[in-house]
Subunit: 143 residues, 2 copies
């Protein structure tokens, strides 16, 4: 699975005429090893701990490339940082965001996905991506 993603990114890079660099390989490896919703700063710190030479501008630039390639997706929660999550082909999940403890619960609902398609159809709209975030208090914080 991870290998496939690397291949997918390499194809994208090749198609775009991008060069293959050590830095991008490393950042991709580390990104793929992370869990959901990592911020650029967080990823940069991880990268730096094993590869002190890599600068944060490179991490920013590379994550944008990942998003462009379809490997990652930008998520704007409400903490002032851009986060990136993994894109799994054919799967889309949304988020319950707890404003009490900042926990993020993922969920998937096919019916909602289908309703969105209906709505888009009604408006002649072609869907590229979407984002559903529900804000509130998780079970632990609501008490």
């Amino acid at each position: 699975m991870i290998l496939e993603k690397k291949k997918a990114f390499n194809s994208f890079a090749a198609a775009k005429g991008l060069r293959s660099t050590r830095q991008r390989d490393i950042i991709l490896d580390i990104f793929l090893s992370t869990h959901q919703h990592i911020s650029v700063e967080e990823l940069y710190l991880k990268v730096k701990s094993s590869n002190p030479g890599i600068g944060q501008a490179t991490v920013y630039r590379t994550l944008k490339l990942f998003a462009e390639s379809g490997l990652a997706r930008e998520v704007l929660l409400h903490d002032g940082q851009t986060r990136y999550e993994h894109v799994v082909v054919g799967e889309h999940h949304d988020h319950l965001v707890c404003t009490g403890c900042n926990a993020i619960i993922e969920f998937e609902d096919e019916t909602i996905e289908n309703l969105q398609k209906d709505i888009a159809l009604r408006h002649g709209f072609f869907i590229r991506s979407h984002k559903l975030e529900i804000y509130g208090l998780c079970a632990a914080c609501r008490t």
Copy 2:
């Protein structure tokens, strides 16, 4: 309707022990006269044109208050600015965002709203607000 909103904000302010100021009245008036999704900077410019004395920090502070009071809602689109939209009680709309021309189409779908409630219930989650944005190309841009 506008009067009710002003009253609602005043109640909120009173309950919070906030003082009533000329600046907040003016900013509220102007905010209520705007259309959807105004950025802080845009609102500040509007405010400044009729009231040059009002500073932008005040506009920032006041819009946060509006959001806290339930009058407005923060919307993060992808242009690096925080935008605010009007909250209409008992109504919630979501957005189709055209990445071609930046048009924003609003829609409402009760079924989706209800499904969200089901999902929250299943996770023991208490919903405060939510946000659904569908990105893609509008009818005009997809051709």
